[in-house]
């Protein structure tokens, strides 16, 4: 039974890589060339992230190993790996574990409920493993490069990399279950969930923003941190010791992390049936007739896209950039010390304007609303296809939503940041143009990628917004677009000067956006109509 469910889960996860779903690409298998191109893009994305994490570990490793604190070095990285895995799995836990569309189907079959939960947790574990590996594996590789290869610690590191995500998985599953229970009991469940997740995310981001200071502190207070970890973060301390070759510590790590997972799994498997079968909150609300107002079709289409964002899981997974803009505004307003430091540094305002444009463009490129907007139509696609609206209008609605949700908070952030950093009005305007055009370019790119890589046969929305190839490809390419701004600055930007460089970047991205819009209006329309 369990094997069957695990196979089904694996098929669902891997299906997007081989076919475009029932409608996509007429169900044809993707060409080997296409798979190679996608694999290369993924390799670039993962490679860039791993290189960044490796660079971070390099500095830490040298200092810790020289001080004889190898265990603390691994413990620190294990903590970071778990934190990353938590962020990677938390926003999808509720949807993936409890809200899958095949709940009724599977529950009607002779599968014990624990097997259904286990197979779904296995899918979530995969996601947690992927995120934790991004931090943990480079740390291990860096360690063996710096100290020389040793077989036993290497085996223990590999074992630990499988054990560590269990804790993040357990916490995510508990959060998912708590949110599902809130959803079953509260009428405004979406609002409550959004507020809770936003509060958690704000806290997490603010903590993360202190990372620079934290690294400095870690490098100078290694012994104190080791003692503190031993007391407060004992499981990670154990994991750290295990990685340095201590077999008892490895057994202890497996026992603690495995034990926590077993306990959470036992609790959730008991509550699973009730959680997935309880009627949702808000179902009892009665309709009261109100005066109806007519809107143009395009407004109705935009409103429809906006309604979808009421689901916090979709909001947090596709519009994370908008949240980051809000957090940035709060951070900038309440960090006078940093603002004063930058203003007193004497750095050229043009240079600061370019950095602000790059940072805000990165944030803008994190919004992935259009990259899953076609996939999310799923079985509802017939509604749009049978409606008397032009495909271009459907595209416009999807683009407008991402552009509005990105550009509105971005504009406020630019006004606040440029005012605080005393950037002259002309440069501020150029920053705004640059960030806005990046937002538009990423929105158009996401839609194109999703048209080429749709997944219309998902059983859980999270598969479309988080685990789809379209989102991964869009994410790496969008980040590439933002990264190009900084690369361009260091190559031609310094020669051109900030105003000219920002104008050039704006013109370049606007032209690319124009070309892509023309493609959408011709080829894109045909692809959509074939779906």
């Amino acid at each position: 039974m369990l094997k069957l469910l695990l196979k089904k889960q694996a098929l669902e996860t891997l299906a997007f890589f081989t076919t475009g779903g029932r409608y996509g690409s007429n169900g044809k298998k993707r060409s080997p060339l296409f798979i190679v191109a996608i694999a290369l893009l993924l390799l670039y994305g993962v490679g860039a992230t791993v290189a960044l994490m490796g660079y971070l570990s390099w500095t830490l490793c040298e200092a810790f190993v020289q001080s004889g604190l190898t265990g603390v070095y691994f413990a620190m990285n294990a903590t970071m790996a778990c934190a990353l895995a938590l962020i990677g799995s938390m926003f999808s836990a509720k949807s993936k574990l409890f809200e899958a569309k095949d709940n009724d189907l599977l529950l009607s079959m002779p599968f014990p409920t624990w097997t259904i939960l286990f197979s779904r947790m296995a899918g979530l574990y995969g996601m947690a493993f992927l995120f934790s590996s991004i931090a943990f594996i480079p740390a291990c590789v860096v360690y063996f490069i710096q100290t020389g290869f040793a077989l036993l610690p290497a085996i223990f590191c590999i074992l630990n990399s499988f054990v560590l995500p269990l804790l993040a998985l357990s916490i995510s599953a508990l959060i998912g279950w708590a949110l599902a229970m809130i959803g079953n009991r509260v009428r405004s469940k979406n609002l409550v969930t959004t507020i809770l997740l936003l509060a958690f995310f704000t806290g997490y981001t603010l903590l993360y923003s202190k990372m620079g200071e934290a690294i400095e502190f870690i490098l100078t207070h290694g012994n104190e941190i080791g003692a503190a970890m031993q007391t407060w973060l004992f499981p990670f301390y154990l994991a750290g010791l295990a990685c340095s070759g201590n077999a008892f510590a490895l057994l202890g790590t497996i026992g603690v992390f495995g034990g926590v997972f077993a306990l959470v799994y036992w609790l959730l498997s008991r509550a699973f049936l009730k959680t997935v079968t309880t009627r949702r909150g808000g179902a009892g609300k009665k309709y009261k007739e109100k005066k109806i107002k007519r809107s143009p079709a395009i407004f109705a289409l935009v409103k429809k896209e906006l309604f979808r964002m009421k689901n916090p899981m979709i909001l947090f997974n596709t519009a994370i950039g908008s949240m980051l803009f809000i957090i940035l505004i709060i951070f900038a307003l309440f960090n006078a010390e940093l603002v004063n430091m930058i203003n007193a540094s004497g750095v050229d305002k043009g240079e600061i304007a370019v950095i602000v444009a790059v940072v805000l463009s990165f944030i803008a490129s994190s919004n992935m609303i259009t990259a899953s907007s076609v996939s999310l139509e799923g079985e509802n696609l017939w509604i749009l296809k049978s409606a008397p609206v032009k495909t271009e209008e459907i595209f416009a609605a999807k683009l407008l939503l991402q552009i509005a949700l990105t550009c509105i908070p971005a504009t406020i952030a630019i006004v606040v940041v440029c005012a605080l950093l005393q950037i002259p009005p002309l440069l501020s305007l150029l920053v705004w143009l640059c960030v806005s055009v990046t937002a538009c370019l990423c929105a158009v790119l996401g839609l194109i990628v999703n048209l080429k890589l749709p997944n219309l046969t998902w059983t859980s929305e999270i598969a479309a917004v988080k685990q789809s190839l379209s989102v991964v490809v869009s994410m790496f390419t969008s980040w590439g677009i933002a990264a190009l701004l900084i690369a361009g600055h260091f190559t031609i930007g310094t020669l051109m000067g900030a105003p000219l460089y920002l104008t050039f970047a704006f013109a370049l991205y606007a032209s690319a956006c124009g070309f892509m819009l023309v493609w959408l209006g011709t080829h894109g329309v045909k692809i959509f109509e074939r779906l």
Binding site: G284, W382, K390
Partner: protein, 236 residues
């Protein structure tokens, strides 16, 4: 109202619909019957512009679906066999969405929603998210939304599946009323008794080919539609 001429739709090497021609006049209820996989849904989807086709032509009220799909879509309403509606919207939000897309005046919309939601006993549930609706409730909501813009042609795929007997009776009444007002209905069904009682004309499709069509009397003669269907299904 609906003119299908030599329609052919191919999936890979398989002809799902093979050279079908049908004419449906104003005021007619036209039933479309056939075994599973015979090509009913493919034909209906092609009529709505949901599926492209290789050969033939489809005209709705004289307008070609190939040449001017938007004008055709504005004249028709389609109800699929399994109406997957936007689960994240409430019933009334969905109706307003459809109303805006079909440019239905606010006052007309208000009156239609009020009348049909009451008729299908769905008024109280209109504030509920569609995700919490049963299959039958979704079917009713899809029907209410379809009726809102007074379509000249209604295309329905298995419209009675999931409806309770009272709702099914209401649907039959509405279908007749709509046709009496000059619209036409083309629908597929497996319920042969309903087709026999409700339809002015009927067409039988088998393996993508039309094997019989015409008025009920022309197709059935002295026997029942069930007998005709079963014997035709065995014969060819």
């Amino acid at each position: 109202m609906l003119k299908i001429e030599h329609l052919t739709k191919v999936y890979g090497e398989k002809k799902a619909v093979d050279d079908i021609s049908l004419h449906i006049q104003k005021g007619e209820i036209y039933g479309f019957i056939g075994h599973n996989g015979a090509g009913k849904t493919t034909t209906l989807k092609a009529c709505c512009g949901l599926l492209g086709f290789e050969k033939g032509e489809i005209y709705i009220d004289g307008v070609s679906v190939k040449e001017n799909p938007l004008a055709c879509k504005a004249k028709l309403a389609y109800i699929p066999d399994n109406p997957d509606l936007y689960a994240f919207m409430t019933g009334v939000q969905y109706l307003n969405f459809v109303g805006d897309v079909y440019k239905v005046e606010a006052s007309v919309r208000q009156e239609k929603i009020h009348r049909h939601a009451d008729l299908f006993e769905l008024t109280e549930s209109l504030a509920m998210p569609i995700g919490a609706y049963s299959h039958g409730m979704k079917q009713k909501l899809a029907l209410i939304s379809a009726l809102m813009h007074e379509p000249k042609l209604m295309i329905m795929d298995e419209p009675f599946v999931g409806l309770d007997p009272k709702a099914a009776h209401t649907v039959k009444q509405i279908m007749r009323e709509l046709c009496d007002q000059g619209s036409a209905i083309f629908f597929s069904t497996h319920v042969l008794e309903v087709a026999e009682k409700l339809c002015d004309k009927v067409a039988i499709i088998k393996d993508g080919k039309l094997i019989a069509s015409g008025t009920m009397e022309e197709v059935t003669g002295d026997t029942s539609l069930e007998d005709v269907f079963l014997s035709m299904a065995e014969e060819r």
